[in-house]
Symmetry: C2
Subunit: 330 residues, 2 copies
DNA sequence: GCCAATGCGGACGAAAAGTGACCGGATGTC
DNA sequence: GACATCCGGTCACTTTTCGTCCGCATTGGC
């Protein structure tokens, strides 16, 4: 049944896997006459996919960018790669596009066969969070959002399905919750779930890394309207433990242009103080992270810290630790 | 024409965008009778997609994980999110799955409408490379692979299309090249293109960040067989400037378990020395990166460096710099 | 300039499929 | 038990699909 639908999909898949195909190759693969192939191409074109054809002795068909995205026909491996990409994208907390990333993630998580899911987990544990190499970290040594949890919650929120889970609050008290999940909101590098707590009959905000033992009850609920902004606001208000962000201003003995060039993207806020000094405003969640920033200042250039006694104290202490370690290593 | 093919795709798309649909909703959207809907569902099931149906008053259809990946029907936004995820995945140099990531990337780049491409570029410039925030960096301040270039080259390699570009070699000499691209290979955090140089009639290895002004001549060439491994080997041999990796062993005055817990994923190689000491082998491309690692050791715990006079010297120097900065800030 | 290779699309008729209406049945929830 | 929902068989009718045959257009190499 439906030879033509599946054949059309297969044609699209072939066109996606190689740029160029001659009619002969395609008819061979699909097992149809050339006339039918032409009709299939026509069909795809009518559906909006840009298929270009070239005549002459080097002729053939090629899939071009069209007006919309065609269905992506992926191999298992590619599916795994995409899921990994989306997960790391989501856990890294890309600003501005979280919602879309989650919706794409939900789509793929929904249909991910278990075997692939296992592959993803294996790969994820083999690679550093956020990918890269050993020393690529953002703040504390253990941010580590559980990407799978994120996917699960995204799916349940999208589909308005009740959830049961265990929650350990800030004081360490654990409780069992039954909630109607609405949105996932990233605030200050952490993910929060905004949900209606069915037992407390009120809105609650749950920090993802405190959620465990999630059960997807496949029971649907009737969601109330809630805009992205409203959700964000609510969560931000709820997050009492505000981001304790530390700022400092580093004054460096270097012209603005030179430092900016050395730092690249990270130095985009460097401003000139005078012809031979510039100031670099930095901000992070901990003094350690600020200390890391200072490591990357060019060697042999003097600098000083402004507006942050905290960082200054830290530098003094850290200088001693480094010196002690160096002495101990002799 | 072909109402049924497009309708089937649309049904799949609907099922992907929400988990649960009743027959009434679907027939309404698709404009067909319920019998036809059932036949469409049947068709999709025959194609291997897992569609579960629930009877009873809360009944409906739901797309489940099947045996394979169904075509992903994405909105424009979601396509952008996926492309972004793949690009950052690729530029971050995920080990072990580069090839697959590139093949998925090629697939989506091939069909990305120009408007979406522009959106991606805009988003990319607004977000830190590798995502995250200010202090998430891997090594040197400026790795910054051009993700778009990567996509372009991946596409040309996959499809065996000749390329023209400008190349600036290590000595700074620029030249125009016409090549037949074969593979993209990541070595030591950098991407290289292995290609046959049509003018020099030999294999050449090009570092991506030295390539510019690429033109895709849409001329195809007949590729020779080349395995992934052969390509990797060739590039690694060609890359004379071998990864200058620095190793050190940090002996910490802390039981193995405690340090391992504090460091989390990064401390997975920590080994016990005796009951109250453990050793942490670390490795990075620069002493600065190693210094960063040391910052994250728990405060107040003494440690010393083994096997790396380089790091020791660096610590002495850095201690002085920190101290000087702290003094200057008074 | 000619030729071979390639893609284009109209016409036709036989075969296949898709479609809706109708039905009795099964399986859930309330 | 009442109700809502999905299930899948059958039938008659309509539409599409498909291969074959055709002359035409375009391209690159000889």
């Amino acid at each position: 049944m439906a030879a033509t639908t599946s054949r059309t999909l297969e044609l699209l898949s072939l066109l996606q896997s190689h740029r160029h195909w001659s009619a002969r190759e395609l008819t061979g693969r699909l097992g149809v006459s050339d006339r039918t192939l032409r009709r299939d191409v026509e069909r795809l074109r009518e559906l909006g996919y840009g298929i270009e054809s070239l005549r002459g002795s080097a002729g053939g068909y090629r899939l071009e960018a069209g007006t919309g995205l065609p269905p992506l026909l992926l191999s298992d491996d590619e599916g795994v790669a995409i899921a990994l990409g989306l997960r790391s994208q989501a856990t890294a907390g890309l600003r501005g596009a979280e919602h879309t990333t989650l919706s794409a993630l939900a789509k793929i998580e929904q249909v991910l066969p278990p075997a692939l899911r296992r592959r993803i987990e294996a790969l994820q544990s083999h690679t550093a969070v956020g990918a890269g190499g050993a020393w690529n970290r953002s703040g504390r040594p253990t941010p580590e959002v559980d990407a799978e949890l994120l996917g699960l919650l995204a799916l349940a929120s999208r589909d308005s399905e009740r959830l049961r889970f265990r929650y350990t609050d800030a004081t360490g008290a654990a409780s069992a919750r039954v909630v109607e999940p609405y949105r996932l909101v990233p605030v200050a590098r952490r993910w929060y779930l905004l949900a209606w707590d069915r037992e407390r009959l009120d809105w609650r905000t749950f920090r993802l890394d405190r959620i465990s033992e999630v059960f997807s009850t496949r029971v649907r609920f009737e969601p109330q309207e809630m805009s992205e902004e409203a959700a964000r606001e609510r969560v931000e208000r709820a997050v009492r433990h505000r981001r304790r962000s530390i700022r400092a201003r580093i004054v460096v003995e270097l012209p603005q242009a030179e430092l900016a060039e050395h730092l690249g993207w990270y130095g985009r806020e460097v401003e000139a103080v005078d012809a031979s000094h510039c100031a670099w405003p930095i901000e992070a969640e901990s003094v350690e992270a600020l200390g890391m920033a200072l490591i990357w200042l060019p060697a042999g250039v003097a600098y000083r810290v402004e507006d942050s006694p905290e960082l200054r104290a830290y530098l003094t202490a850290q200088a001693e630790r480094f010196a002690a370690a160096a002495r101990a290593s002799a």
